[in-house]
């Protein structure tokens, strides 16, 4: 790629011109697509099967998986319900609430059926079984 004297490529320069809200939107679309795609592969479910399960046209689901759809929350929750997995999670923050645990789900953890747990205050990473979390341990 063509580079300028500041060592940023032409690609980087063009990328920096993309408005931040557009970047965020396109990124979220991609993340949702990859999350669904990863779950489908992990569970051995085809796009066709998922589309049939949620009563959606295959072409419409394909658009979601290509990261090109502006999904409604209703559609996302329909997919979550069909897959029995979260596609998106919303962190809940209150002024007076300082969580000491943040739970992430990553593609790998879906296969292991475990959650990656990060201690909020210490920044320490440990792996904890999902059932232990629900048991309040």
């Amino acid at each position: 790629m063509k580079e300028n004297k500041n060592n940023s490529t032409l690609f980087d320069q063009l990328l920096s011109k993309v408005p931040s809200d557009v970047k965020r939107f396109v990124r979220k679309q991609g993340e949702i697509a990859v999350q669904i795609g990863t779950i489908l592969k992990a569970k051995g479910i085809t796009q066709k099967e998922l589309a049939q399960k949620i009563g959606m046209k295959e072409s419409q689901l394909s658009k979601i998986l290509a990261g090109n759809a502006n999904c409604t929350l209703k559609t996302i929750t329909k997919i979550e319900n069909a897959l029995n997995e979260d596609i998106i999670t919303v962190p809940i923050f209150r002024e007076d609430f300082a969580p000491d645990v943040i739970v992430d789900t990553a593609a790998k953890s879906l296969l292991d059926k475990k959650f990656k747990v990060r201690k909020f205050s210490l920044g320490e990473e440990v792996y904890v079984d999902r059932d232990e979390i629900y048991a309040g341990k």
């Binding site: 991609g30 697509a33 795609g37």
Partner: protein, 104 residues
């Protein structure tokens, strides 16, 4: 731009992010699409993506659009030459590093 950046740095070249079999053959030519924009690429697994060219797809199929058709044909040619060189062992695809001779 953002999608290409995410593919390169975060997601990898996941198959469902692309429109596949764009040139109609069983070759690695795929299309990155955004509404009616198309960017034709060669995809090798989830790790290698060679970006080509593209344009606006006004017609139902790319074959009906001479400009796009030409760009798909170019990528099909690139894919064919890469396959030949892989068969001839001039190109090896390994996880790290990658050895390429891409001058055609």
């Amino acid at each position: 731009m953002v999608r290409i950046d995410d593919i390169a740095n975060r997601f990898g070249c996941q198959d469902y992010l692309f429109k596949e079999k764009e040139s109609g053959f069983t070759d690695p030519v795929v299309a990155l699409s955004r509404e009616n924009l198309r960017l034709y690429c060669c995809r090798y697994g989830n790790i290698i993506l060679i970006l080509g060219s593209g344009g606006v797809k006004y017609t139902r199929t790319y074959q009906e659009n001479p400009g796009l058709h030409q760009k798909v044909k170019i990528m099909a040619y690139v894919a064919k030459r890469i396959d030949q060189r892989i068969n001839d062992k001039e190109i090896e695809i390994k996880k790290q590093p990658i050895y390429w001779r891409l001058k055609f």
